[in-house]
């Protein structure tokens, strides 16, 4: 990462620190759209980070985009920044120009298929579309008789049934029946739901790594400030060992997520090597989220179980993210099959990375 790229991430961190305070996250969950935050992100060119300049994007390198999303994950940013970046990446694969405003993507579940008919109209319903009700456009991967199609759809044209994830963020059901996209272009050869799903999993992996850093920071701080039995609970060995393990899980998640981000950046999010890295990252970060959130909550005691305390901003998101775009089990099976197909003697070369 060069200094210029650090500036982008630094700028994002400053915005997150200034604006994404606990009250804003709570208000967002209650249904208040944080428009000032979104506008600031948009003005700074962060929402279209992954769009090429030619298509109206900010043209930020993919690796730096992942670094940005790790920070967004760390700060529980309650707007569809990741989803808009993912949508821009999807549209970019078909050379479709980006609209401003929040976007999301569909489908987000592996067995969902959106179809596009001969008349150009879509059919199909996608569940668990993050932030759909808050977006202006949905980038859709659809199936025509001639192959995969990437389409840009106005959210207002779709029927939306509101729902929410366990993180308290919109996870809406979107029906595309009869909707005509504003643009629709054949997807590049070989591009399919699996590719979209893998990119989504890579994004969730870096968000998880960021979220784990957050709950480590919060837990360390809480344990130093909270006194019981006449001393800060940080002085108890049981607490120290728990937090040391949380630190290990956070570091492992960071390592796994960074490996996936680098592999995706090197291949623009496509290809089997990157897919293996993403499978490993989503598996390992999901595991770390499970272990890490349990330790963080145990350290915070009943306080961390209240709505008033902000710990749940990160922990509920970690629980949602570990299941989105394939959970640990899904990706472990994928990865295990990839490894087994190569054979026993290729296991270690697989681990060290194929050149």
């Amino acid at each position: 990462m060069n200094s210029e790229d650090n500036l982008i991430v630094d700028a994002a961190v400053r915005i997150f620190q200034d604006m994404v305070v606990p009250s804003l996250i709570n208000e967002a969950e209650a249904g208040v759209w944080p428009s000032a935050l979104w506008e600031t992100l948009e003005e700074n060119g962060l929402t279209l980070a992954w769009g090429s300049d030619a298509l109206g994007g900010a043209g930020i390198a993919m690796g730096d985009g992942f670094a940005l999303l790790k920070e967004a994950g760390r700060h529980s940013v309650p707007v569809p920044l990741a989803e808009t970046m993912l949508a821009a990446w999807l549209l970019g694969n078909a050379g479709i120009e980006f609209p401003m405003g929040p976007m999301t993507i569909a489908p987000t579940q592996i067995n969902t298929k959106i179809k596009v008919g001969a008349d150009g109209a879509l059919t199909g319903t996608a569940r668990y579309v993050p932030f759909a009700r808050r977006t202006e456009h949905v980038a859709v991967l659809a199936n025509s008789d001639a192959g995969k199609v990437i389409a840009l759809v106005r959210t207002a044209d779709c029927a939306i049934r509101e729902n929410q994830s366990i993180a308290g963020e919109p996870a809406d059901e979107v029906s595309f029946d009869g909707v005509k996209p504003t643009k629709s272009v054949r997807a590049p050869e070989g591009f399919d739901e699996q590719a979209l799903f893998a990119m989504g999993a890579a994004i969730r992996s870096v968000q998880i790594a960021g979220g784990l850093q957050k709950i480590l920071d919060q837990s360390v701080q809480y344990s130093v400030e909270r006194s019981q039995f006449g001393r800060p609970i940080a002085k108890f060995q049981a607490i120290q060992h728990g937090l040391a393990q949380l630190a290990g899980e956070a570091a492992a998640a960071g390592a796994a997520a960074d490996a996936a981000a680098e592999a995706m950046a090197a291949t623009n999010g496509l290809g089997m090597i990157a897919r293996a890295e993403v499978a490993a990252a989503k598996t390992r970060t999901g595991e770390a989220a499970t272990i890490g959130t349990a330790i963080a909550h145990q350290t915070h005691g009943a306080m961390g179980f209240t709505y008033e305390h902000s710990l749940h901003h990160a922990t509920r998101r970690l629980w949602a993210w570990r299941d989105e775009f394939g959970n640990e089990s899904y990706w472990a099976i994928e990865l295990g099959r990839m490894v087994a197909a190569e054979g026993a003697d290729m296991l270690w070369p697989f681990v060290t990375g194929k050149e």
């Binding site: 393990q245 499978a279 296991l347």
Partner: protein, 387 residues
Amino acid sequence: MAAGGFRFPRIDFSPELKALQQEVRAFLASERASGGFKPVADGWAFGVDLEFSRKLGKRGWLGMTWPKQYGGHERSSMERYVVTEELLAAGAPVSAHWVADRQSGPMLLKNGTEQQKLDILPRIAAGECYFAIGMSEPDSGSDLASLRTTATKVEGGWKINGRKIWSSGAHFCHYMIATVRTGGTRDEKNRHEGLSQFLIDLKGPGIQIRGIRNMAGDEHFNETVFDDAFVAEDCLLGKEGEGWHQVTSELGLERSGPERFLSSAITLTEAVRRMGENPDAREAEALGKNVARLKAMRRMSLGVSALLQEGESPVVEAALVKDLGTKFESTLLNDVRQLMPTEALGQSTDDYARTLAEGLLRVPSSTIRGGTNEVLRGIVARQLGLR
């Protein structure tokens, strides 16, 4: 605030490193195919094969980073990393020379006399000279500074009295680097100050080595008893009273390598051989989870090496990797065991069943040797600002 500030910098393999990696892989594949070695669980701690150690010496894969004048090869620490991780992943029997190559040689290079360096280092690099660790004692495990063994100044040298325990391979090793007390007592507040390190020839007078059989049946570690054992003046390594500082840096070398997460990797490889190319979902899931863990561990371990190469002393990062890595070594065996259970030992027909059984019986040592996970978590907790 980012708690701990842990850093695991990324390392890119140069074409030279990749070529070396391929060279070691080809060597190991051909050795295994020709019966040059049989893969062992925990091969760096339990796989003693003097012939194999000598072969590695001939290849130039021991003492790799040392100056040529002492038999070394003046290669980078990353080149050494690449060779060691390949040996570990293959379950090669590298235990005989492991301690000498990893910590005793570097220790001598730093603190030995010119004569000692010229005499001993080339033999280590040839795979012919082996070292035992002399840290723990019957009453001093995790609390190393409480050790009792003493060295007393006498005419022309020192007399050593006391007992060292868990000295792996002392029965075939040539030397031990022992940390002993030259001043103060174990009960004093400044007890760290009275420690010094000595190079001890295990064939010397007043030394008795008694084997301690472990629960896996291995005749592996020992109790080494010193009864007025005389060592010459120049066997004091470094400075008198600097032993604590020296042993801490020796432990840094001991804790930071890839052996702290790769001890059971060979069993995962052999599990894949049994599963075949089309595992069922249960098998694929267990395999995938462990490969995911392994990949993350390796990246962190490479990060520790990067810090070492940058000249830093990544004590805390190494502690973190060793805590996670040794737990992983155990989890891996338990995950594959549930897919393909242990077999009666006499019927262990393939390398999977054999390395699984060996591994399960040896793995309780992983989370203890070189610093218990409790001690390591204490180190991490201090960095987090908790103590």
